[in-house]
C-alpha cells in the first residue's frame, strides 16, 4: 500500500489527528462521495477570526481519512482568510500527493471545508 500512498499519508490514515465532533461548532459541513461512498463531517470553531479548533468524523478509504486529518492540521490556527483559500491542491500538497485514483478524497475534504465555512458565515449573518 505504501507504494501508492506517501509515508505521511499512511501515517495520517492509520493515526488520524483531531477526530471527533464539536457540539457547539461555529460551522459544520457534511458530504458523501457517491463514487465510492466516502462520508465526511467537519466541525470548526472560530475565535478572533481564526480557526481555533477543527474536528471531523470520516468513513471511507485511506485517502479520505488522510485528507481529513491533514486538513484539520492545515486549518487549526489559520486565519479565516487562509482557510477560505485552502482547496484540494493544498490538501494534496500537504500530504505529498495521493494515488491518482484517490484524488477525489482531497476534493471531498476541500468540499466539506467550503460547506463548513459557508455555514459559519450564514450563522454569523443570521439575525
Amino acid at each position: 500500500m505504501s507504494m501508492y500512498y506517501s509515508e505521511l499519508a499512511l501515517d495520517h490514515a492509520e493515526n488520524p489527528r483531531n477526530v471527533g465532533t464539536i457540539p457547539d461548532a461555529d460551522g459544520a459541513g457534511a458530504e458523501m462521495n457517491p463514487v465510492c461512498g466516502d462520508l465526511l463531517t467537519l466541525f470548526i470553531k472560530v475565535q478572533d477570526n481564526r480557526v481555533a479548533d477543527a474536528k471531523y468524523k470520516v468513513q471511507g478509504c485511506l485517502g479520505a481519512v488522510a485528507a481529513s486529518s491533514i486538513l484539520t492540521e492545515l486549518l487549526i490556527g489559520s486565519s479565516l482568510e487562509e482557510a477560505e483559500r485552502l482547496d484540494h491542491q493544498s490538501v494534496l500538497d500537504a500530504l505529498g500527493g495521493l494515488p491518482a485514483s484517490k484524488l477525489h478524497s482531497a476534493a471531498l475534504a476541500a468540499g466539506v471545508l467550503k460547506k463548513a465555512l459557508a455555514d459559519y458565515r450564514s450563522k454569523r449573518n443570521a439575525p
Binding site: M1, L10, A13, E14, P16, V19, A30, V35, C36, G37, D38, L39, L40, T41, K57, V58, Q59, G60, C61, L62, G63, A64, V65, S101, K102
Partner: protein, 396 residues
C-alpha cells in the same frame, strides 16, 4: 500479543513452495535448452515438459494431449472461451456464463459480444450459487458454450459443476447440439476434485500461482473432439494449439506444485476448514454487526468473506497490514476501477456492505496461532474505525 506475519490472501497468490522451486531451478541455466531443439541438452527439457504434462493429465484424469500449458489462469480462460466460441460459429453464437465469474471470463465474453456473440450472464442467489435449472432455461438453439466457475475467488462459493454438466449432456442430446462446458477451476486446485470426468466438463482452467507454483504458468484442459481454434499462433508447440517456446521451469513447477497440492488435499482441507469455521464463528462474537458473505458450508475450505457495518474495507486492510496481516477486500477503494466487487453486487448486497467487506483466505502454512492473532487484532481495528465514522451508533 507480539506482532506476527500472517498471510491471509492465498486466493490472490501463494508463495512458490520449496519443492517446486527446487525442481524448477535446473531448467533456468543448466538444462536451459529449447524443448524443440535436437541436441541432448534440449531433449532434457523436452522430457521434463512431457513428464509434467503426464503428471497433470493423471490428476485431471485426461489424456496428455488434452493438456495445454499456458501463461496462467487468465490466458487459459481467454483461450478456452475465444478458442471454443470462435470454432463453433457455424453452430451458433450464444454463450452462457454467470455474473460472478472472474474478469478473465467476463471480459472475454464481453469482448466476444463485439464479434457477433450473444452472452447470457446468469444471476446467482444470495449465496452466489448458480442454479442448474437457470442454466438449462438459458440454453437456446444457438448456444455453443457454457462457462461456469468451479469456486468463486471472492466468496468461496462452490458451484454445482457436475450437476450442471449432467443437465447439459441430457439437454444437448435432446436438442442434437454440442453444448460445450468450460469451468474456471483456478480456485479449486488443492481443495476440490479436479477429475474432468467426475466434473463432466469439456474444458478447465488452472493457474499455478494459486497452488504454490510459479506465477506466469497455468493449464488449459480441452477434451478431445471439442471445437477449438488456437488463439496464439506461431509454432508447433502444444500440438499447434498454443504457440511459443515452452516455459520449462514454469511447467515443471506447475506439475510439482499440483501433484503435491493434490497429495496433501485431504489433510489441508480438513485443517483449513477448521480454521475457517473458527474465524466465521468467532469474529461475530467479538465484532457486532458482522455478516458472512457467501454460502456457510458450500464454500472453499479456506475462504472467509465478512462485512462490517459502517466500516470501509481499505482502512481495515491498512490496519491489518500494520499489524502484519495480509488480506483483501471487495471495496471500491481497493480496486483500480473504483467499482465495488461485481461478485458482492451480484449477491444483491448494497454498495455499503460491499465496501465494508474483508476477504481472508487461508493457506497450507497458516496455524491456529495465526487465527488467534487475527481474532486478537481485528476487533480493535474495526472498533477504531467505527469510532471514526459519522454513522457510528455505539462508541466501542
Amino acid at each position: 500479543m507480539p506482532q506476527r506475519f500472517v498471510y491471509l490472501d492465498h486466493a490472490a497468490t501463494t508463495a512458490v513452495r520449496p519443492e517446486a522451486l527446487e525442481a524448477m531451478l535446473p531448467y533456468f541455466s543448466e538444462r536451459f535448452g529449447n524443448p524443440s531443439s535436437m541436441y541432448r541438452l534440449a531433449q532434457e527439457a523436452r522430457k521434463a515438459v512431457d513428464e509434467a504434462r503426464l503428471t497433470v493429465a493423471n490428476i485431471l484424469g485426461c489424456r496428455a494431449n488434452e493438456v495445454i500449458f499456458t501463461s496462467g489462469g487468465s490466458e487459459s480462460d481467454n483461450t478456452a472461451i475465444k478458442g471454443i466460441a470462435l470454432a463453433s460459429r457455424q453452430w451458433g453464437n450464444h454463450i452462457i456464463t454467470s455474473a460472478i465469474e472472474h474478469h478473465a471470463v467476463l471480459h472475454t465474453c464481453q469482448f466476444l459480444e463485439n464479434f457477433g456473440f450473444e452472452v447470457t450472464y446468469l444471476p446467482v442467489d444470495s449465496y452466489g450459487l448458480v442454479d442448474p435449472k437457470a442454466v438449462e432455461a438459458a440454453v437456446t438453439e444457438r448456444t455453443v458454450l457454457v462457462s461456469i466457475m468451479y469456486a468463486n475467488n471472492e466468496i468461496g462459493t462452490v458451484e454445482p459443476i457436475a450437476e450442471i454438466a449432467d443437465m447439459l449432456k441430457v439437454k444437448g442430446k435432446r436438442m442434437g447440439r454440442n453444448l460445450v462446458f468450460h469451468t474456471d477451476a483456478v480456485q479449486g486446485a488443492g481443495a476440490l476434485d479436479l477429475n474432468v470426468d467426475h466434473l463432466g466438463v469439456d474444458s478447465l482452467s488452472l493457474s499455478s500461482h494459486k497452488f504454490y507454483g510459479p506465477k506466469g504458468a497455468g493449464v488449459l484442459y480441452v477434451r478431445r473432439g471439442t471445437p477449438f481454434m488456437p488463439q496464439q499462433q506461431g509454432g508447433a508447440q502444444e500440438r499447434y494449439r498454443r504457440a511459443g517456446t515452452e516455459n520449462t521451469p514454469g511447467i515443471v513447477g506447475t506439475a510439482v506444485a499440483l501433484r503435491l497440492a493434490v497429495e496433501e488435499q485431504e489433510d489441508v482441507r480438513l485443517r483449513l476448514t477448521g480454521l475457517r469455521d473458527r474465524i466465521i464463528q468467532e469474529v461475530p462474537k467479538r465484532i457486532e454487526r458482522t455478516r458472512l458473505n457467501g454460502h456457510p458450508t458450500q464454500r472453499l475450505p479456506n475462504n472467509v468473506n465478512l462485512s462490517f457495518e459502517s466500516v470501509e474495507g481499505e482502512p481495515v486492510l491498512l490496519g491489518l497490514d500494520f499489524a502484519g496481516i495480509c488480506a483483501s477486500s471487495g471495496s471500491a477503494c481497493t480496486s483500480a476501477s473504483l467499482e465495488p466487487s461485481h461478485v458482492l453486487t451480484a449477491l444483491g448486497l448494497p454498495a455499503d456492505i460491499a465496501h465494508a467487506s474483508l476477504r481472508l483466505t487461508l493457506g497450507r502454512e497458516n496455524t491456529t496461532e495465526d487465527v488467534d492473532y487475527l481474532l486478537e487484532t481485528l476487533p480493535d481495528i474495526v472498533t477504531r474505525l467505527r469510532n471514526l465514522s459519522p454513522l457510528a451508533r455505539t462508541a466501542g
